[in-house]
Symmetry: C2
Subunit: 675 residues, 2 copies
């Protein structure tokens, strides 16, 4: 690890290195939770052509919780159907299957594709709207020192980093020779086939007379979102573990001129002997083609010279695969090439003070459209935890769950990608006797199973201090400590009370109506990412007097001065500042009034009167049908249940209306009482 | 009419006076159709507090055709239910009825409420995105001259206007004394109780040493959207005809502190003896209250001194009406008062060169939430017609339909408002013998019927050169000439072929799937407001060979060099530049391919290949159900039909796939052949 010179040092609570999607997601949490944070990126410019990625359903749900999924939904290309094309008995490609791209009813969103530059734009607009955090571009870290002895000291700034501010010229990446001549931008400089350019940038900066300034900062926390060549990871001495394959793929973003009938569908095309192509239709008439470079099959260990790769060569490969259909283009937006590999980081954090996220801790092939999603979901998992500790809401034990939860996901991801890449890169079997070939049935099966994984909603976090479920925390995570304090009574939620709200998974969404104005909402729309915990009270059939009496008792208990809600809410702040109660009842809407419910379920403010946006009902709407929320959530419509949902929308605990003691114990395990 | 001095004069195709919603809608059409236009407004600032209006379903459909309905939908308050409150036998107010605010299945949108300043923002953003048109503020016309002899000369600029550019100070409206002291902004200066301030502004400007500059411009067309005191209307010597009532209403925008249970519903509250209140829940926790000022009931003709009106006085009236419920507030956003009157302009245009729109030609009470909607729909009707004449697509006969279509709507509107205001302002009948009182049954009935009118989708334009339907054009419009040339054979569409697509009304919307990528679209989403006409080909069941043969013959006929499509399309422009063909077929999606359809239904371009966004199918989607478009449109699923839709989405003609001669005759009546 480097050391820094003496001198004046400024303080920041969180330093984020890297302003790609993972870094921007981390910054967005800090913006929403009011955390003092800085985010720096070595590149001087924001948007690159290309860099499209599929956006998972879960990613769109997360974007929606920050308020900008609608912009993505509007601009993106929606993918509805996957068509599988395989050689027939004469070796000619034929459409063999159609599969829904997103499994129906998995989410209120479906998978879409949009240029990464637009995604970054939405993050930047959101940062601007909610904070003064700005991305500092052309800024790169030179040295890092970390005082491990102060790791557990809440007031300490144990991290010191020296930053180099580059001039504009130094911060712009060079394009390779081929694209300079063709005028088309390429992504080779960001491909995993390109060497790291950090040292080059720094040495150029050192030689530059007009070099920018340096500064030192001290941080409480640091998040390295600095990509596959992560400087932060290298400083910590952590490794990526895994393997590189010999499959080389080219990528073309073109407006295709073709008679191939499924060019606007997502397609997996396996030719008999001429490699594979994946078709990803994009926005603005573009289509992305992932193309197996058959010319590279010759030598097993022979590295392809990247100066040899060009768009024409990639197109010719695609033409061979897709024959007898014609494929040409007049407009190419971007192209690149990459080599498939699957690797995962050995450690995701240093003393729960310095964290790694995104490509810095997992690399894999881009075809499954997972990369950007999993990277953003890393920091979506991490950001609110750091914010809660900094805000004094939670103790540091919750930070352990970042590695236990996300390293496990990375492991699952590379296992998935390994299998999927092998099946997609291989030659189709000619018949059942062809053991060297890939079975197209096996491929289809993997594709369908992969679809659920690829949606992002299958993520199931293991038992931890934050997830009150049964079983062995180590084996449900990545094997590391999940923050459970063995000295405390372990709380286990009652899964049977809400059979379709799995503890550890994201809270599913169904439509409910606002009691006060009859407006239908997808329940997830009320789970804004603002750092708040939610106590979701399924109040049951409140038209039944006995059940209403249970709800009244719960309300009284939650509102009492000894309740965990006031105990964990800073004095002077609204009662819903840390833990927000959202109620869904199942009585017919018109049989009850908002004022029938305990005040704490729709808190009163002297300035603004009662809160009209907290009590919902599972009833039919005028224009959008009936959400059947109780049925879909698997909750008894008479007796209800209570669900604790984490600030990131994952289900933490389930119990009965009377289980206030368990709720208290759950929160007390990691929350900090206010005085 | 004024005259102007000699001097240098600049030319503009369209001059729009007034940058409220009506003027901005006109400018938006010009932006989308590539017309050289200027828009000026005498006010120096854009956004006023208050000025909320309900947005009709139809207005949202129109916004969506320009691409920004989603922004309104997201920010606005959605109104789902209307609650009627009436005195019971003891004179205490009780909820007597619940009615859906928007009739289900009328539109894909429902009525919402949003601050006018936001609506204007969306227009301005849209103008910026699509054109270089900017609103010129603090600019007001001084004189107008019009050379009637050149009215029919297509190359002439028969309108001359002198413009005064004000300084910032002059362009800011004064607030009244009451609001200056309370710090709350009010809208009295824009209320119909306020005198016109144009002369005052001008005389102030004349006295001001730092007065701004003057300029003269010549215009081909001019649109006066300059409000109830319209300077343009006064220059033309046209009058508003109608009556003023003695009912005075106050308006309060507050965050209410109240135990009234329906404060987030739209409510019509009639008290026994203490007047009426209408509740309109708004965005940002605000609620708008329209309150009958009971203190003004004393003298029939006694005008209320407006310096006497203040928020406290309005609140006290509301408290009396809503007793025994409590009503208070800590925050008032805006308030105003107005006197109800219904008036309509005698003429909507001068020689189809100078047009009046919006409040300049109709005034009425704001409570029904119609004003801004009808005003915007005036210029939505007019804008594309002027653009088509200027672009050389259509001859001037189509301009006559502005008055015949929109003056009729204004007449219907004031009749509706007259009845509704009387019922709402009157005292409820104590019993059936109380003839001076208003029957609450009659009120409810009027409310429900009014709901359909108020949605905006009930608009039904009469027979004209643009609307090929049966009947007497004069009696279906406002009595004026509707452009039908009696020397030509009159074309009448075959309504029976599409029973739920009424000729003269807006094209309804149902979900269909894109053949090329299986994505569901509401069909209206494909009817972008860009000046294009649409030929909607309901191709029927193309899996039937005979039917497919009919489609092929239609395609061949439309593509032939003598067809009306190439004849009315400028040489060198894409074949869909003026008339776009959209196809909806009813065969199962997977039984057909895009390339089975004639090329003209999905035109080929040498640069971008085939068009993948023109052929749709009425089939089930993976995630959004089945639109059942043929059934809902009332079109035979075997044999189909062809529908001509105007650039503003109104249905012009219906016929069979073989009726190409009628299509030709329809367009030939007003379109200009290109050479």
């Amino acid at each position: 690890m480097g050391s820094i010179e003496d001198g004046e040092v400024s303080n920041v609570d969180v330093l984020i290195v890297g302003a790609g999607p993972a870094g921007l997601m981390a910054a967005t949490w800090m913006a929403r939770c009011g955390i003092n944070a800085r985010i720096v990126d070595k590149r001087g410019t924001k948007i690159y052509s290309g860099q499209a990625d599929g956006l998972q359903c879960r990613t769109l749900e997360i974007f929606d919780s920050f308020g900008f999924a609608d912009r993505v939904w509007k601009e993106s290309n929606h993918m509805l159907e996957i068509c599988l094309w395989n050689p027939d008995s004469e070796g000619r490609i034929r459409r063999s299957d159609r599969i829904p791209d997103t499994i129906p009813d998995l989410s209120r969103f479906q998978q879409v594709v949009l240029h990464q530059g637009r995604i970054e734009r939405f993050f930047l607009d959101s940062l601007k709207e909610h904070s003064s955090i700005k991305v500092e571009r052309g800024v790169l870290p030179l040295s890092l020192s970390f005082d491990e002895s102060k790791a557990e000291d809440l007031d300490a700034y144990p991290i010191e980093v020296e930053l180099q501010h580059l001039t504009d010229e130094e911060a712009s990446p060079e394009q390779n020779q081929a694209s300079k001549s063709s005028g088309v931008s390429d992504g080779l400089f960001r491909s995993n086939m390109a060497p790291d350019d950090t040292e080059e940038i720094l040495s150029k900066a050192a030689k530059n007379g007009r070099a920018g300034t340096r500064e030192k900062i001290r941080a409480k926390y640091m998040i390295g979102c600095d990509g596959a060549h992560s400087w932060t990871r290298n400083q910590l001495g952590y490794k990526l573990e895994g393997e590189q394959t010999d499959y080389i793929w080219g990528v073309l973003d073109i407006i295709p001129i073709t008679d191939f009938p499924d060019i606007r569908m997502r397609c997996a095309i396996h030719s008999a002997d001429s490699g594979s192509v994946m078709v990803i239709p994009r926005e603005n008439k573009l289509v992305r083609l992932y193309i197996q470079m058959t010319t590279t099959e010759k030598g097993d260990h022979e590295k392809l010279d990247r100066s040899n790769i060009n768009p024409r060569m990639i197109l010719e490969s695609a033409q061979r695969t897709m024959a007898p259909y014609k494929l040409e283009y007049k407009y190419c937006d971007w192209w690149t090439a990459y080599q498939i590999g699957q690797r995962v980081g050995s450690n995701f954090s240093k003393n729960d003070r310095i964290f790694l996220a995104g490509d810095a801790v997992h690399t894999h092939s881009p075809k499954a459209g997972q990369g950007m999603n999993v990277s953003m979901q890393d920091t979506y998992n991490l950001g609110w935890k750091i914010a809660a500790v900094l805000n004094g809401t939670a103790n540091r034990s919750i930070l352990k769950t970042y590695q236990s939860e996300r390293r496990r996901i990375a492991q699952d991801l590379i296992a998935f990608d390994h299998r999927f890449s092998r099946l997609f890169s291989g030659r189709p079997a000619k018949d059942v006797m062809d053991e060297a070939g890939i079975s197209m049935e096996e491929f289809k099966d993997a594709f369908q199973k992969g679809n659920r994984f690829a949606s992002g909603v299958a993520v199931d976090y293991g038992a931890s201090v934050l997830v009150a479920k049964d079983g062995d925390a180590a084996s449900q995570g990545d094997g590391s400590d999940a923050g459970i304090n063995s000295a405390r009574k372990r709380i286990i939620g009652k899964q049977s009370l809400a059979t379709a709200i799995p503890i550890g998974m994201r809270m599913p969404s169904f439509k409910v109506l606002n009691q006060a104005d009859a407006r239908p909402w997808h329940f997830q729309e009320r789970l804004t990412s603002n750092g708040k915990w939610r106590l979701v009270v399924f109040a049951g059939d409140v038209s039944d007097q006995q059940q209403m009496a249970r709800v009244q008792r719960l309300g009284k208990s939650l509102a009492s001065s000894s309740s965990f809600i006031p105990r964990f809410t800073p004095r002077g702040q609204p009662i819903d500042a840390v833990i927000e109660i959202l109620t869904i009842h199942s009585a017919p809407r018109t049989t009850t009034e908002l004022h029938d419910f305990p005040d704490i379920l729709h808190p009163y403010s002297a300035k603004e009167g009662w809160d009209y946006w907290k009590v919902f009902v599972d009833d039919v709407s005028y224009h959008e049908g009936h959400g059947r929320a109780y049925e879909n959530y698997g909750v008894d419509a008479k007796t209800g249940a209570v669900v604790i949902v984490r600030p990131d929308g994952y289900v933490a605990w389930i119990g009965e209306l009377e289980d206030v003691r368990d709720m208290d114990d759950y929160f007390s395990a990691f929350m900090v009482a206010r005085t």
